[in-house]
Every structure is written in C-alpha cells, then in structure tokens.
Amino acid sequence: MTAAMNLDRDRSNRAEQVEHLRRKIAGMSGKASGSGGSPWRGPSPSKAALPDSETLLPLPESLAGRLPGPLPRGSVAVLSGARSLVLQMVAAVTAAGGHAAIVGQPDVGLLAAVEMGADLSRLAVVPDPGIDPVEVAAVLMDGMDMVVLGLGARSIAPTRARAVTARARQKGCTLLVTGGDWPGASARLDARVCGYEVTGAGSGPPTPGCGRISRVRLDTTAGGRLARPVRAVGE
C-alpha cells in the first residue's frame, strides 16, 4: 500500500524517479562509493540527491542547449559524420577535469580539440590498437571518464557489445563509438557540416582568393533511446 503510494508520488515527478532508478542501478552494479575522492565519479548512495556533475557527462556548450537530454555517464553513444562532434565532446570532458582516451583514430586533429578548449594533459591517444580495438577500449574504461573508440568499420557481435556496455556502465565511463555501429547504443548522434563561414571575403558568396575559413557549421541529429529524435544546428 505504501509502496504503491510511493510509486504514485514518484510517478508525479518523473525526473526524481529517473534519478532514483539510476542510483539503484549504480548501487547494484557494485560501483563502490569510496572508489575515488574526486567529485567526478562514483554515485554515492548516502547522498540524497546527486548533483548532475556526478551522473551526467559534460556536453559541449554548442550542443548542451540543443540536445533533448543529457548523456549519462557510463552510457554508450554512436557518433557519425563530422569529426568536430567527437572533438567537442573530448574538449568538454577534459576541460571539466575528466580523462579521455582516443582509440584507433590516427588521423584525428588534436589541435582543433585544443582550440575547442581541450586539456591535452588529460588526453591519451592509442593510434594503432592492433587487431582488437574493443579490448583496448574495455581496458581503458578502468581509468578513463570517456573513451572514443574508432571501430574502423568493424562489426561487433551483440553479445560482445552487451558485455562491454555493462562494463562501461559499471566503471562509469562513457564510450563514444565512431566509424561503425554499436548494437544497443543508448544514443546516436550524427553531425553533418552544413556550411562554412568565410571571413574577409566580402558579403554574399565568398570571393575566391580572399578571406579564410573562420567557422564550421554543424547540423547534429540525435536519436536513440535516451534522446528523442531531434535536430539541432550548432557550431
């Protein structure tokens, strides 16, 4: 009876309920509260309400207001399209004090990430992860707050994907998959370049021979379980 009433009350506030369940999941998956002294990790059951910074991934400013919902830590997201989106995520996480690793993307332009605000001292790169990049990513989940995994068009078996997803959730490490699909990913973000801004080339269409590229405009589409399908246009 009380349980039902509780449930009713909970239902009245959906956000609270989500929070409650998230905490329960964290408790069940054995994530110890004392696993780190940092404010970064480890949802602690003793706290009544958790601040967003402990359960949610910092999102780039250009994306934060436009995506329908935040990305929880420990989730798996598939990113496709323009590389800027990945670098913006890396920049946001490292700038907020988290550690990130990029696996299997030898051609990534890290200078662009620095310009987006990334802290290189919290970033490590594994350009050539050998024959099994997923294994490397799974090892890195132990210590990282975010791992970017370039699959290089490999396909992942659903059972393997489930195991790695569970590991990501348990370690509180967000896995961003690029260059392939991930069965059961909780969010799918797709970014397309929808235009370039050229400064110093006059008004209207840019005159050849003048100006320089000053901005890349992105068109981000979000999908998946955590995010209602929505379109956002950002930087």
């Binding site: 990534v108 662009a112 310009e115 132990d142």
Partner: protein
C-alpha cells in the same frame, strides 16, 4: 716504529697540501708550480708559493711590498671556490687509496688510519701510498699521523709520524703561536690568545698544557679550554668522512644464456626487484635507467630510458621486457649473434624518494590521474611502449607539427617551444582530420597549379583530382572558393631544406557542399593536409 698499538678509535692521518690557495691559483692560471705566486685578501698576502717564499714573500705582507720583494710575482685575490674546485682532484685521488676522507678545508684532509695501516701493512706504508697518489694527481703534500686529530694536523705540518701515546710530548715542543696556525682548528680569537700567552711568558704548547684546566677556563675563556684540550693531546673527535655513494646497479649473469623473450621477461622481473630493493634502501627513485646486455659473443647493447616520473618496480620490469623484446626480435642482420649472458640495470639519474611518496589523504584529481595512468600502462603492456601516445602542444606553423606525441612514461617534451612567436601560423580553426595524401590541383585548362618562388599561384586553381574525400563528395572536385597561397618561410638558410622549393598552404572549398580542405604545397607537389568537418 709502532711498538705500541694505538688505542681503539684513535689514530688519525692528516694530508696537508702546503700553500694550497697559491697552488690552486697557479693551476687556475696555468702556471707551473715553480713560479712565484701570492694570494691576497684585503691587500695582504694570505698564501704564497715556495718560490715566492724563497725570495722573501711572507704571509701578512702588503701586496705592494710583496711585489717589491719579488717583481715577477703573480698576484691573485683569494677565492675559496677556486681552492675547493681544484682540491676535488686531490680528494678523489686520496679516496682511491683510502676511502672516507674528511676535508677540513681545501688543502687539508684527515682520515682514520687504522684500516689503511692494516691494509697497507704499516702506517708508514699507508702514508707513502697517499703521498704518491696525491703526487700523481699533480699536488705536493705532507702526511702526519698521530692519535688525535689536532695533533695529526700539526704532525702533517712537521711531516712526521707521532708514535702512539706521544701526542702531548710531540706538542710540548711546539711554539705557542702554532696554536693559531691552522685556521680549520682555531676559532676567531685564537691569534689574540696565542699573543697573550706569548706575552705572559708561556712560549711553548707544553707550558700551556702544564697549566691546570680550572686556571685556563677561569682566565682565558671557552676557546682557551678547547686549545688546552688539544695541547694536552686529550681525545678529540675522529675524522667523519663522507659516505660513499651506495652501489645501486643490479647485475645478473644469465645461466643458461637468454635467447627467448619469455625467459628474458622473467629475468627482467627479478632484476627489477633487486634494483628496487637497493633503490629503496638508498631512499631514492630512478628517473633515468640504463639497460645493458652483453651477449656470449661480447656484443654490448645499451639503451637509456628516460621517464617523467620515478619508475616503479613494475614499470622497470616492463621496460626491461620491452627492451629485451626489441633486441631479441630485431631484423636478421641487426639481431645479436648470440644469446644474452649478462644483464645489468644502472640507474643513471635518481631523485629523492619523497617524489615517490603519495599523499596520505590523496589529493583531488591526483587519484583520478593515477587511475587513468594505470589503465594506460596496462594498454602499454598489451600493445607495447609506443602504442600509447600523449599529446603535448608544440611550436610550429602547420596543424600537424603543432602537436608533439610522446610515448606514455617518457618526458613530454615538445619538439619546438610553443610560447615563441610563430609568424605565419595558421589561424583558428584547425582541421579536425589530419591527412597526408598526394593530390592534384588543376587550373581551368586542366594544367597543374604550382606556387612560384614569389609565393603566387602560376594560375588560379579550379579543381582537385585524385582525392579520396573529393570522390565521396557530390561534385567532381570543382572548387567553389579558395584562399591563399600562404607561403611558409622555414629554414631557407638550410641548403637541404631550401633545395626542396617553396612550401605554401591553401584552403579550398569544394563545389556542391563538399568539405573544406587544407592543402599543402611542398617539394613541388600538393598534399591534402587536413579536412575541416
């Protein structure tokens, strides 16, 4: 000579290099030791060479007076640092013969004689060996041996060996002024004390020693009591030599010789353990480690690993394994011709272990950093040392050269200083994808576009070919916009670099919604350097 044994703990040998400031000054000026040299302080001579003394230069003379007595005198001002620097050679030479010598001042060494006398057979033999060693180092010295340290110093000035128990007898014949002669044994007011005693009619050390302790203490003060003690030859402190730096090398002879990686890894682990026990005992951590291997055919292999943080035992074992792996799995012609027989670890650079100490309560962020590092080190263990790269901002003009990658664990040193001004640096934003693919840039007629030595296009570019990205795009590589060329004037003074012709960059935008690209012209070819996406 030594019919009596010296009592336990007694027996001091003093090595005295006479006129050391003058000898050091002569050595610094490159003069032979036979030249007259005087060292002055506050316009007075404080030390002079034997040659100068022979023509009448004395301590305490005014500089002008000394120069009048000896016109060819080389006069220099006193410099304790110069004395100490040149004395280091003598110290090292003495350490070679008898370790743990104490330097009382540059020019005077004391050491305990017991071990040396036993080793060389007699005190005389030890003294002879020391005189020879110092002479080989290019200095002249006298050696004195006595029971007590101050007596030994005076014995060295006289160049004699005082028999056991004969300290007081030896000293009793000395002039009372000798009490103040040795600056390292005398306090500031000792000269006044010697003067006073002289005027009171106490002209020898023996007469001073005959006074009662109480009379000396009540009339002349604390420093006089110290002087009185050594005038009587009473026990003084012994020499306290410097400790030798501990031997930290870990050496292992492999039997049977190692030719497989797994055996090498096993050897490396136990060797790392041994090294870390000795490092721990010495209270230091290692930041630069040399790994050496000798094969059965006598080939020597060595590599120095340089690390940003002190190595832990596991990290050392990993490095030994990687190194041996590298050596044993080289290509045929480079591979060592025989299995490894001796393996040694030599800490090249050590830091105090305080650098290794983790804070008791942890510090915010540090914990996270360590956990991240552990995960990365595990990946290094899976894939090899070069697999995990740490980026660091570097100086440069192009987007690729402005990031330097170093393997995790190595010191992250940028190739060029990023804080310097880099004129001609590409402005923001940088390309998010970095490539290095050859590409063709054509003008409207289909002829290739070049960059002239004046830094201009030979013709306006119109389209791109042979680009994998351009093929993906909807258009046929037609350009809707381009900007540049922006020449890069780098190393034009270097004939090798300038022979490759001009380097320039250009931004292009493909027609029909294709991506923007950064092209680089170098060695008379175009390369696709980056994509903005």
């Amino acid at each position: 000579m030594t019919e009596f044994e010296r009592s336990a703990g007694a027996g001091v040998l003093a090595v005295w290099c006479m006129d050391w400031p003058a000898v050091a000054a002569a050595a610094a000026a490159g003069l032979p030791a036979t030249d007259p040299v005087a060292v002055t302080l506050a316009n007075r001579v404080v030390a002079c060479s034997a040659a100068a003394r022979a023509v009448g230069v004395r301590r305490g003379l005014r500089r002008r007076e000394a120069q009048a007595r000896c016109p060819q005198l080389h006069v220099v001002t006193a410099d304790p640092a110069r004395d100490a620097r040149h004395f280091e050679v003598v110290t090292a030479a003495v350490d070679e013969v008898v370790p743990r010598a104490e330097v009382m001042r540059p020019g005077l060494l004391v050491l305990s004689v017991r071990g040396a006398a036993r080793y060389f057979g007699s005190e005389q033999a030890a003294a002879e060996r020391l005189v020879d060693a110092v002479a080989a180092a290019g200095a002249e010295c006298q050696v004195g041996i006595a029971d007590q340290l101050p007596t030994a110093v005076f014995a060295a000035r006289a160049g004699c060996v005082v028999e056991p128990g004969g300290d007081a007898r030896f000293l009793s014949g000395l002039s009372i002024r000798q009490l103040a002669a040795e600056p390292s044994l005398a306090a500031a007011g000792r000269t006044d004390l010697a003067d006073l005693l002289w005027r009171l009619g106490i002209r020898t050390v023996g007469k001073f020693a005959a006074l009662s302790r109480g009379d000396v203490a009540s009339r002349f003060g604390a420093d006089a009591v110290v002087a009185h003690r050594f005038a009587r030859g009473e026990p003084a402190r012994g020499p306290s030599g410097r400790e030798l730096p501990p031997e930290l090398d870990a050496v292992m002879s492999c039997d049977p010789p190692v030719d497989r990686v797994d055996a090498a890894a096993f050897a490396g682990r136990s060797l790392a353990g041994e090294l870390h026990r000795s490092l721990e005992a010495a209270g230091v951590g290692c930041t630069r480690l040399a790994i050496r291997a000798v094969t059965a055919n006598g080939e020597e292999l060595q590599r120095v690993w340089r690390c940003a943080e002190p190595l832990t035992e596991d990290a050392t074992a990993d490095r030994v394994r990687w190194q041996l792996d590298g050596w044993l799995n080289r290509r045929r012609d480079d591979r060592p011709t025989a299995p490894i027989t001796t393996l040694s670890l030599h800490p090249v650079e050590v830091v105090s272990a305080a650098a290794l100490q983790l804070p008791l309560w942890g510090s915010s962020g540090d914990d996270d950093r360590l956990r991240a590092r552990r995960a990365l080190v595990r990946v290094q263990g899976l894939l090899g040392p070069e697999a995990v790269q740490v980026p660091v901002l570097s100086g440069g003009r192009g987007p690729a050269e402005r990031i330097t990658f170093t393997p995790l664990g190595d010191e992250p040193v940028p190739r060029a200083d990023p804080s310097q001004p880099w004129p001609g640096q590409l402005p923001e934003p940088s390309p998010t994808v970095l490539l290095d693919d050859p590409i063709e840039l054509l003008d409207a007629e289909g002829n290739p576009v070049r960059v002239t030595s004046r830094g201009l296009f030979s013709a306006d570019p119109a389209r791109l070919t042979s680009s994998p990205v351009a093929v993906l795009a909807t258009g046929k590589g037609e350009l809707s916009w381009w900007a540049g060329p922006w020449p890069v004037d780098e190393r034009w003074w270097d004939p090798e670099q300038s022979a490759n012709g001009r380097t320039a960059r250009v931004q292009v935008l493909l027609d029909g919604g294709g991506p923007a690209m950064l092209l680089c012209y170098r060695q008379r070819r175009w390369y696709l350097e980056g994509v903005y996406e």
